[in-house]
Amino acid sequence: VDGLRTRLDELERLGVSVVLVGNGPPSALAGFVREVSLEGRRVTAVTDPSRASYRAAGLRRPRMHGLRAAIELAQSLGAGYLHRRRAGDSLQLGGAFLADDGGRVVYVHRSRSPGDLADPSDVVQAALALFVERRARGRLV
């Protein structure tokens, strides 16, 4: 979320809403929203402990994280990233998709390892392309 949070202003200016889906218990949701300072943003945070939405999105849940995950963890610690206490399925991998106002998918990323996150620049680029397309169609007011 940290990488994406720095680009939220751009996404908001491009008219993109953001939905964050976690898989921890609902009791952890309010604390998460406070912790990452999402109040007042164009962001909706929800959770899906059943992970049905993860499966429907085709996101992987390996039996265990391998060497690549260990290297990513060491790299993030070496870069000074402090891992916070987490809530949810530790094996579940994440992902992201961007849908246009007609519900058509224009960007998708599925993580192949815990550190394989959607590149915020790619997301903003896809949102910008969508913005230009919408403006060309005259749908913006």
């Binding site: 976690g22 929800v46 429907a56 998709f97 998918v105």
Partner: protein, 42 residues
């Protein structure tokens, strides 16, 4: 979920829990929307 295709019905109908109670994920797709699936909260 495939680029150029509609968001799958199964995904739209998936139930999620928000601060205001349960909702269908599809109901949260209002206008252009980025959906981010987190590994975990944190």
């Amino acid at each position: 979920v495939e680029i150029g295709r509609p968001v799958p019905t199964e995904l739209r109908l998936a139930e999620v829990q928000g601060l205001d109670g349960p909702a269908r994920l599809g109901d949260l797709l209002r206008g252009p929307t980025l959906v981010v699936f987190l590994r975990q909260f944190g």
